[in-house]
């Protein structure tokens, strides 16, 4: 029974990992590749760790596997965040079928600052559209 559970956990983890690899190979641009690899990769590693911990059934091994799982669970979103941030800041081209890029109109590439459209921005970082609208309001 224990062997069956361990086998199912290991093979499910391997399935998630091959899904991540196929996604990272086939998907068209950086955000979709990140969508495939970070979630499925972390899930596959966690299920493999659970299978190994159940196979050995030892307190020492279980503690180390649990520590690795917690570490992956903490660091995978941070790594995905820094990769996506670097990709957007460096101007990595999106897929031509992308229909929504909400940062494009409100993001200043020179100063790396965002605008919501409501705040009075400082004089030095006002983008051209923002400045024009405030002049119209004064008239």
């Amino acid at each position: 029974m224990s062997e069956l559970i361990v086998s199912i956990l290991l093979l499910t983890g391997a399935g998630f990992m091959i899904l991540a690899a196929v996604g990272i190979l086939r998907l068209p641009d950086l955000p979709t590749r990140m969508h495939a690899s970070t979630k499925a990769g972390a899930m596959g590693a966690m299920m493999t760790m659970a299978g190994v911990a159940m196979h050995f059934a030892d307190v020492v091994v279980f503690t180390r596997a649990f520590a690795i799982v917690i570490f992956i669970l903490i660091t995978a979103p941070i790594a995905a965040h820094v990769i996506g941030r670097a990709g957007y800041f460096l101007g990595t081209p999106l897929w031509e079928g992308t229909i929504k890029d909400e940062l494009k109109d409100n993001y200043d590439e020179r100063t790396h600052s965002l605008y919501s459209g409501f705040e009075p921005a400082p004089e030095s970082v006002i983008p051209p559209t923002h400045k024009k609208r405030s002049e119209d309001d004064e008239d």
């Binding site: 990272i24 190994v52 690795i68 570490f71 790594a79 820094v82 990769i83 800041f89 460096l90």
Partner: protein, 89 residues
């Protein structure tokens, strides 16, 4: 049964690593290569603990932990280098 499952899982992880290496080689942008390296790190952690079962050792978890730590620090350092031009100013 457990040997069969472990062998099949090791084969699948090896195929996943080969696909990631292909993306690492052809990646059109450098951030794609960093993403492929990050996924390779997670793949290698799982492969090391599978070899731990295969060899019935139970002592390879420190290596997996070290690779997880160094892989995360390496990813953050590479993106910092891309954005700022230096890692530690």
């Amino acid at each position: 049964m457990i040997e069969w499952a472990v062998n099949l899982a090791i084969t699948v992880f090896a195929v996943a690593i080969i696909l990631n290496l292909y993306r690492l080689a052809i990646g059109p942008d450098i951030v794609d290569r960093i993403l492929a390296l990050d996924t390779l790190m997670i793949n290698s952690i799982a492969l090391i603990v599978l070899f731990d079962i295969r060899l019935s050792l139970g002592i390879l978890f420190e290596a997996a932990m070290l690779i997880a730590l160094m892989g995360f620090v390496g990813t953050v350092a590479m993106t910092k280098y891309l954005l700022r031009g230096d890692v530690i100013e």
